[in-house]
């Protein structure tokens, strides 16, 4: 991504950002509310186009956003089957695989409109994983999940990361972020500072830095 800028209405939300995310790398984007983290993800996904600058991305992208992008009137299985058709996935078992992976098989024939927020969130993750993406864009993927769900999804994401999937993650919980991320970017006032190689640092340092930035 080079020199990326994006305006919203008349405001400059992202100001000439430059960064890259490699295979198996997980970039966590943190910052105060309204900083433009969601906008950044939407530009990365291709739904929004940058006002200036360019984004180079792979073709296979999965995204979990603030909204589920699912149809309430259809069942979980039907929703996933629809997305399979859009992505050209002919393997009939894929839907079942993904449902099992997210622990939703029991409810697959229930309409999404009846799901709890946590279940919808899990289904949204399932949808993102359908096409086996190289790049996952996750906007607070753990927010509505119960403890068990958080654990399960986190384990899943870590496994995917180790298998080579790149991710850009927006999150507020420092503990889960530090487990998963390989680098952290602080997005404030349209600019982003990236800290590479989290290896040695511990959660507390990051939390401190985060608090600074938010107060900032």
């Amino acid at each position: 991504m080079r020199d990326l800028s994006r305006t919203f209405g008349y405001r400059l939300i992202l100001d000439r950002l430059n960064f890259r995310v490699d295979r198996g790398a997980v970039l966590a984007v943190m910052g105060p509310n309204g900083a433009g983290k969601t906008t950044l993800l939407r530009v990365l996904s291709g739904v929004l186009k940058p006002t200036s600058g360019s984004v180079e991305r792979s073709q296979r992208i999965g995204m979990v956003g603030h909204h589920s992008m699912l149809y309430d009137a259809l069942t979980a299985a039907e929703n996933l089957a629809f997305y399979c058709r859009l992505f050209g996935i002919t393997d009939r078992n894929r839907v079942q695989e993904v449902l099992d992976l997210m622990g939703l098989s029991r409810w697959q024939h229930q309409r999404v409109g009846t799901f709890s927020r946590g279940m919808t969130q899990r289904l949204a993750v399932a949808r993102a994983l359908l096409a086996e993406p190289d790049l996952l864009l996750l906007d607070e993927p753990l927010s509505s999940l119960d403890e068990y769900g958080v654990d399960a999804v986190l384990q899943l994401l870590m496994r995917l990361r180790d298998e080579g999937t790149s991710m850009v993650l927006v999150g507020h919980e420092v503990s889960s972020v530090t487990q998963l991320a390989t680098s952290i970017g602080f997005l404030v006032g349209g600019h982003m500072d990236v800290i590479e190689e989290l290896g040695g640092r511990d959660g507390r340092e990051i939390a401190e830095r985060y608090r600074e930035v938010v107060r900032g």
Binding site: G9, Y10, R11, L12, I13, G189, G190
Partner: protein
Amino acid sequence: MNPRQNAVRLNLKGQLITWVALLGLAGVYVRALAFTPIERTQGPAQKIFYLHAPAAMTALMAFALTGVVSIFYLWLKDRKLDLFAASSAEVGVAFSVVMLTTGPIWGKPIWGTWWSWDARLTSTLFIFLLFVGYLVMRGALEDPRVRAQYSSVIGIMGLLLVPFIHISVYLFRTLHPTPIIAKPSAPSLPQEMLVTLLISALVFLLFYVGFVTQRYSLGLLRELKHEEAARGIS
């Protein structure tokens, strides 16, 4: 010079042109009433034609320009193009109102009815309504980028609708011919009337330029104000 000053200067130029046009209009009135012969079959009422026809021509031109400039906007994405298209549409709507009111005023003494489904009046009515819709939609959209995109789409669709509406009205009327004296807007006008008409057309053109310039420059100033306000927040 900064953009704000440029816009203000442009606005002043627009106002100047409009004043000149107003003088021109006074001149047209004088010429039409005192120096142009009275039409034989229609009498003095025909003189409103010198306002009606140029208003119609300018309105149509304004809408056509909106459509064409919309195509350029979708290609070049320069918001100034959208601003021009919208200004042209507004002026077109205003001139359409002139045309649609002078039409009946002209028609009543001659045909006996206020409104006749005359081909040109009808076509103009529908195009006018479409561009009123265009302006209403613009009012309902706040994001300038989305507003410009959507306006361009309507502008282009409107541009292509015009010939279809004309043909529809023509077909309708040939099926239902009405025993009404045709308007003498064919070029078989005596010299003096033609000259008055041409002068009036030029005056209306000047009005168009003056109004659009003012509207456009005001639009520029408003954009600048929004940008400054936004920069103040972030």
